[in-house]
């Protein structure tokens, strides 16, 4: 799985730095379809890209170079002296507590939770928090369980209804075409009669 990710990101980086390699194939593709082509969409000299029709230009290569130059300059400023080149490893900040456990690591669910809260009208997350407490007082908590279930909105609102409609169609069609040759002959006969009636 990682190989695929690496390959895909490699392609992305390459395209980002040199999008001009795609300019020509794209141009050929658009000239094939009549009515879309309006001259070359992109003019390029290898470094700069220029959109035709609107005044807009870009040079990804120079942008990347500029970024790299700036980063090197910043690094040079920061690591001027010997003291600043040394690095000391320290434990992550734990507010004065030295013991940090894996429980304190941030989680993916949590990362997405604020956005999920913002769009809860669309996503309709189902959240359950069960609190077990002692029978004598609810302030003695014994266990807490949290459960979150988010149903895919597209799957439930679009795909499943579409599939259901398609299935109903299919069921109807199956009833009409059940493989009986007599039934097909009857359909032909009725069609013929209707055609004759209409054309008369």
């Amino acid at each position: 799985m990682q190989a695929g990710l690496v390959a895909l990101s490699g392609v992305c980086v390459a395209l980002a730095l040199a999008p001009t390699v795609l300019a020509e194939p794209l141009e050929r593709a658009t000239t094939v379809v009549s009515g879309i082509a309006d001259g070359a969409p992109i003019t390029t000299d290898g470094v700069y890209l220029q959109l035709s029709g609107i005044q807009a230009g870009l040079s990804p290569l120079l942008l990347a170079t500029g970024l790299a130059v700036m980063m090197i300059a910043a690094l040079a400023v920061v690591r001027r002296s010997r003291v600043r080149r040394t690095t000391r490893g320290i434990p992550a900040w734990g507010c004065g507590r030295t013991v940090q456990t894996a429980r304190m690591e941030y989680t993916a669910t949590s990362f997405a939770e604020p956005l999920q809260r913002v769009f809860d009208d669309v996503l309709h997350p189902e959240i359950d928090v069960d609190v077990d407490h002692h029978t004598e007082s609810r302030h003695y908590v014994q266990a807490i369980r949290y459960r979150l279930h988010t149903r895919d909105a597209f799957e439930h609102r679009l795909y499943l209804p579409l599939l259901a409609v398609a299935r109903r169609w299919g069921d109807g069609a199956r009833r009409i075409q059940n493989g009986s040759i007599h039934r097909y002959l009857a359909y032909s006969l009725f069609t013929l009669i209707i055609v004759l009636l209409v054309s008369r």
Binding site: M104, S110, S137, A143
Partner: protein, 506 residues
């Protein structure tokens, strides 16, 4: 051993009979104000390790009623039936006694350590009279058993004891999904100083300087509670002029602390200008304090048998401060964002507030009317006292209740001023003729403060038990947070409770 004072009724009971007696008093409208354990050495000449004596102070009022339940336990087999099921706060006092006195609890639902952190060695109880020198701490091998919230994606935020702001140390463990708080546990007692033990062996007059330092912002509240307890134990009656000055100092302390909190709550919603202005008003009040007692935090004003003031403010000054505070409050309440942030945040329901046994403004913002000035007035001064009450239980209610209390305080001060006399007013303590004990109850700015002192036959303090209202109120904070509160609202919620760490940790 006999106790000569008859001010507080003492009921001797047995471990077996404790629960029934306790429940009976609770249903009669009494409230648990304090639980103190004592490790009495064997009486002259006798051999053995002495006995453990547990004192439950039950109070009700008005009229001011105080009862004490005494239970004696053998030191080697100190087994105490737990009252945690009938009183949440009793359960916390029990855990405190378990850590400090080695009393074993029978039937407690959460009998874990409370005061002593995990690095304290097992089996060494610092409050026993024969505890001896403190042994070496061990490494924090096992951490505190926080409840693990089960479920995918739940993580824990450890906050503190070192914080980004200048606040006292406390560790908060949040179990969170994203921004939703599922559970919070406050782990306190990072500033446990053993201050109760430091009182032991001091003279009653010498204890007041310690009492002033129990919680820096409650110098008057704690020193007054201490002095009242001493006066009850020794049968001393301070002059009325001293009582009046004490009442004034108490309100001045409430004033400067409440003003600070108003602005600090504004600061926690990014409304720095309110903070800047309340800090200005606070500074003005602190300078007044400095003129009045010679100390900006009002130390030195209250002592056993009396009180003093070297200067008194004008009524017009108080009126000007009142208007100044209301200008800032109006300015804050005119800001829609501030109102929105305060409203509905960290709601503590009346039911929860009652079950936990909250005190002070936390209780009064959640619909529970409690005020020691009314229930346990130390002098006949509070006929015109108004006790504000709100039922919202949210940050806004805790903000508004403070504003109302500021008004009430200034009204009291204005009423007291014409009769107040500068100078020292003191009744010297009677020489102690035998052992004695007494309870002092004071409505400090955070709520009812309770002190119980015992004086030995040599006139020295043998035991001082201190209860800051924070001890009752701290468990309410996690309860108010669980539910709808989001993580970034925690500092605001915490500020609205503003409990003392030092007063709780002792």
């Amino acid at each position: 051993m006999t106790w000569f004072t008859s001010l507080d009724r003492v009921i001797e009971t047995t471990p077996a009979g404790l629960r029934d007696r306790f429940v009976e008093l609770l249903t009669n409208g009494h409230r648990l104000a304090l639980v103190a354990a004592h490790h009495d050495p064997p009486i002259d000449g006798a051999v053995g390790v002495g006995t453990i004596r547990v004192v439950y102070v039950m109070v009700a009022g008005p009229p001011d009623t105080r009862l004490e339940l005494h239970v004696r336990l053998p030191t080697d087999e100190a087994m105490l039936p737990s009252l945690a099921g009938v009183s949440f706060s009793a359960g916390r006092f029990e855990r405190e006694m378990q850590d400090l006195f080695g009393i074993r609890l029978v039937g407690h639902h959460q009998p874990g350590r409370l005061v002593l952190h995990q690095h304290w060695p097992d089996g060494w109880y610092p409050m026993r009279h024969d505890a001896g020198p403190q042994p070496d701490f061990r490494d924090e091998t096992q951490s505190y058993p926080f409840i693990t919230v089960e479920g995918p994606g739940v993580y824990e935020i450890p906050v503190g004891p070192v914080h980004a702001g200048i606040i006292e140390p406390g560790h908060f463990r949040f179990s969170v999904v994203g921004e939703t708080i599922l559970n919070v546990k406050a782990r306190l007692w990072f500033v446990h100083k053993g201050i109760e033990r430091l009182f032991q062996g001091r003279s009653p007059d010498g204890g007041v300087e310690l009492a002033e330092r129990i919680s820096g912002d409650t110098a008057v509240g704690h020193s007054l509670a201490y002095c009242l307890a001493i006066e009850r134990a020794t049968g001393t009656v301070p002059p009325p002029a001293a009582q009046l000055l004490r009442a004034m100092l108490l309100e001045l302390e409430r004033l400067y602390n409440h003003v600070t909190d108003l602005g600090a709550m504004g600061n926690d919603v990014g409304f720095g200008i309110a903070h800047a202005h309340t800090m200005r008003i606070r500074e003005r009040l602190l300078r007044l304090n400095n003129e009045i007692t010679g100390h900006r935090l009002l130390r030195g004003g209250v002592y056993p048998g009396g009180a003093r003031a070297t200067w008194l403010p004008q009524a017009s000054t108080l009126a000007a401060i009142h208007d100044d505070i209301h200008d800032v409050v109006e300015f804050m309440m005119a800001n829609a964002t501030v109102v929105d942030r305060f409203t509905g945040t960290a709601v503590l329901s009346t039911d929860d507030a009652a079950q936990i046994g909250t005190l002070g403004y936390v209780a009064r913002a959640s619909g529970i009317s409690t005020d020691a000035r009314r229930e346990h007035a130390f002098a006949d001064l509070y006929q015109n006292l108004t006790v504000p009450l709100l039922t919202g239980g949210d940050v806004m209610s805790r903000f508004e209740i403070r504003v109302a209390e500021i008004d009430a305080s200034i009204a009291l001060l204005t009423e007291f001023l014409p009769n107040a006399q500068m100078g020292e007013h003191r009744t010297p303590l009677d020489p102690v003729v035998g052992p004695g004990h007494g309870v002092g109850l004071v409505e400090g700015w955070r709520g009812t403060i309770a002190h119980r002192v015992e004086i030995g036959s040599d006139g020295r303090l043998t035991r001082v038990k201190i209860v800051d209202p924070s001890f009752f109120n701290w468990p309410a904070l996690p309860v108010a947070l669980a539910g709808d509160t989001i993580v970034p609202d925690f500092p605001l919620a915490n500020k609205s409770f503003n409990q003392s760490y030092a007063g709780n940790d002792l």
